[in-house]
Each structure stands twice: as C-alpha cells, then as structure tokens.
C-alpha cells in the first residue's frame, strides 16, 4: 500500500535530492503507472504523458543503448516505434549512446550522458524529456540529477518495473505499448 505524501515533481530540488524510493514512493504493479509518485492506472498515465508532451515548449526524447543499437529484433522494432512516437509528439531526439563518463569532452548539443544530464537540459532549454531504452540504474542516476538541478519534467518509459524518480513512469513498455502511446497522442492531437 502506498502511504507517502512525497511528490516527485520537477525541481530544482537542491544539490542532493532524496531518492523517491527512500521517501516511500513504491513501484507500480502490472497495469499501473506512476504520476509524480502516485500510483495510477496505466491509461491515465498515458494521457498525462500525451498532455505533457503536446503542451511542452521544447520536448526531447533521450533514447538509450537498449534501443539505439540493433542488438536484437525487439530492440529494432522498439526503436522504430520510439522514432514514430517522437515524430508524432513533435519532440526532438538526443541519444545516450553509451555510459562512458566523457566529461569534459561531452557535446551537450548532440549527446546526453547519465553522469551530467543537466548540461544537456540546460544547453537545449528542455522542459519535458522522455527516457527510454536506458538501463535502469543509469536512468535512476540521471533522473535524480535532473530533478536536483533543473526544472525539466521527466518521463520514463521502462521495459521493466518503472522509475520512482521520474515524474511520470510507465512500466512493461515494449514496441506495442509505445505504439499505443503514439495512438493516444494522435487522438489527443485530433487525428484518427
């Protein structure tokens, strides 16, 4: 049972924000999702994601290595679905190709790194971002840094159990679920 009053909202929350899990936020069960630390139905979270993306001034997708590299057929299929989703939402894409700590050589205009995601967000003035295909521990690290030092609204589309430190988080997201989200956005935009 979820009992915490802690809300995972966009920051800046300070230099060292607490991990949402340590504040009592728990991961959702199958068919559920998280909005700002509250467990909700998956459908509600999808609509909220669509609303956030469509109302954003400068939304970006941050795809990670799990979909950027064609290491199996499912990854390729999900990558195609994500590209379509980003295009439908009118969002730009900055890749997280791997996790090498390339500081100070990172170019925030063309890549993002989990160790300093705030640089990319500041540089591009990103107000809503979507993490997808990033290994969970690196996504957690980046999401916490973003919440600590920026006012960017974070969304995590996770293939496993979701992320407490994202403002909205879906779980069990594979190609089919990505396409469902695209359909929600199209519908909200007034399309078929």
């Amino acid at each position: 049972m979820q009992e915490t009053n802690y809300r995972v909202i966009n920051g800046p929350e300070g230099y060292l924000p607490p991990a949402a899990a340590s504040m009592g936020v728990v991961l959702p069960d199958r068919g559920q999702a998280l909005i700002e630390g509250r467990i909700v139905a998956e459908k509600e979270a999808m609509e909220k994601i669509a609303e956030k993306l469509l109302s954003a001034k400068n939304p970006y997708f941050f795809p990670g290595p799990l979909i950027l590299w064609a290491w199996n057929d499912k990854a390729v299929e999900k990558a195609k679905a994500i590209k379509e989703l980003a295009d439908t939402a009118g969002a730009k894409i900055i890749p997280m190709s791997d996790y090498r700590p390339k500081y100070p050589m990172i170019n925030p205009a063309e890549e993002i790194n989990p160790n300093h995601p705030n640089l990319t967000i500041w540089h591009n003035k990103i107000d809503v971002c979507v993490f997808v295909g990033v290994h969970c521990h690196y996504a957690n690290l980046a999401l916490k840094i973003i919440r600590g030092g920026t006012d960017c609204y974070t969304i995590a589309l996770c293939a496993n159990y979701g992320h407490e430190d994202a403002m909205i988080s879906l779980r069990d997201v594979h190609a089919e679920e990505v396409r469902n989200l695209t359909a929600v956005i199209k519908k909200m935009k007034g399309g078929k």
Partner: protein, 284 residues
Amino acid sequence: MNNKIYEISPGFEEIMPKDYRDLVNDGPFGKKLGVKDLGTFKELLEEHPLCAGCGLALSKRLILASLPSPENTVIVGTTGCSSLSFAQVAIHNIHSIFGNQNAVATGLKRALEIRFPDKTKDVVAMGGDGAIGDIGLGMVMHSWFRGEKFTTIMFDNEAYANTGGQESGMSQKGAVLNMAPTGKKYAKLPMPEIARDAGCVYSASVTPARPKRLEKMVRRAVILARKLGPTYIQIYCPCPTNYKFKPSESLKRTRDMEKSGAYQIKEYISPAAEELIKKFEEVK
C-alpha cells in the same frame, strides 16, 4: 552479446553522434585490422586525459589495434594512470579495485565461458606495475597458478605515477623519484620469469618503440590464452612526468633503455604454445 550490438537501429543513424557513426562505419570491429592500419580507421582510443608523451597511452593505442577480436574482447582494468583513460575506450571494459584485476578477470572469463559456450570471448586484464607487480601480485600469481585462460598486460612505467611518483617493485635499482629521493634500494622484479615459472604458457616483454613486435606478442598472448592458459605481456611505458624528461623524448628514452640493457625484450614460449603458434601463424 552479439556483433549486432555494433549496428545502429534503423531511423537513428543520423541522430547518433558522429563519433559513434564513425566507429560503426570505419571502426576495427570484425575487420581484422592491425598496427600497420593505424591512421586508416577509427581507433578505439582517441581522446584521453593522460600526460603528453605518456608511454602508456601509446602502448594502449597499440594494444587496442593489436587485439585479434576487439568486438569479442572485454578488458579488466584497475586503478592507476591507465584507469584514467579506460572510460574513453570504445570497447567493453570493467574497472576493478586496485590490484583486483586478475581476480575479476577470472570470474568474468569463467562466466563468459558458461554464458557463451559456442563463442570465443577474450578477456584481457590490464594494469600498471603497481597493480600487477606489487599490490595485486598475489591475485595475479594465483590466477596463473590456477591456469586461468586470459591475458595479463602490465603497463610498466616503473613507478606509481598517478600518485606522485613513489617507487614500485618494477622501478630500476637506484631510480630516484619524487618520493624515493635517495634512490631505490633493490632490483626490478623479474616479472616475465615469475610469470613463466608461475604457469604462464607465454610470457613476454616489449616496448612501444617496436609496434610490430608488440602487435605480434599481443596476438600470440590473446590467442594462446583462449586454448592453453594464462599469458603475460609487460610493456615499458616511459613516464615523462615522474622521470622528468621531455614528452617528445619518450621513444628516444625507450630506445636508450633497450640499448643499455636496462629494459630487455624477452619472449618465453612453452612447448605447447610453440606448437599452437606454428599452427595459427601458418594459417595466417
């Protein structure tokens, strides 16, 4: 782990940074390139934070160009100057705690053999002379005693270089360093001989002034380790910062060390290794 991991998913080719596109299109993966091809392909280590003239950086560049199958190799590095540049290496690599590299490489090699029984996955433990010859020597030697099938490469700069220049077991007798002002009191450890006696089927020492020789030794060591057991290579990596010579003089110093006999090129090959070398070098 399959080689498709080096292909970019459709639709993202133009989104990926140029460095990655270059690695996919012009990198060494699956192409059997070598030291003679340097300058014609996108290398696995380009930018790094090591000092100007660092013999270790040059050696690492040569080692990476010499790996027989970089796409199927995992490097286990450890604390030291070399660890500062591992983050920039575009190949699977693990950072282990100081001196633990051979213990970690043991577990990794065994796990890879179980996980990928039909594939050849090379493991190469790399570290400085402090990690391999001093602090990690116990774990290094026990991996050799056990006959673990991976290669150990020592970057021998004859000092603890990134902590201010203490003497190491590999420093030459009499060497004066920042933190050894009266000179080292005992001789350089005979690591190639220790490796041979501890069970390495192949043990060699070389310098980056001989890139072709270095390449041959790295290839021999990695391929022999796949079949027979532990192999060891020691590479002289002159350190301009702590030994206080000009960065532009690294190679000259290397040659001087060879010429004076202070650093000797050696190669010990077990009879079984000799036989196998004949086979794979004939095939080539």
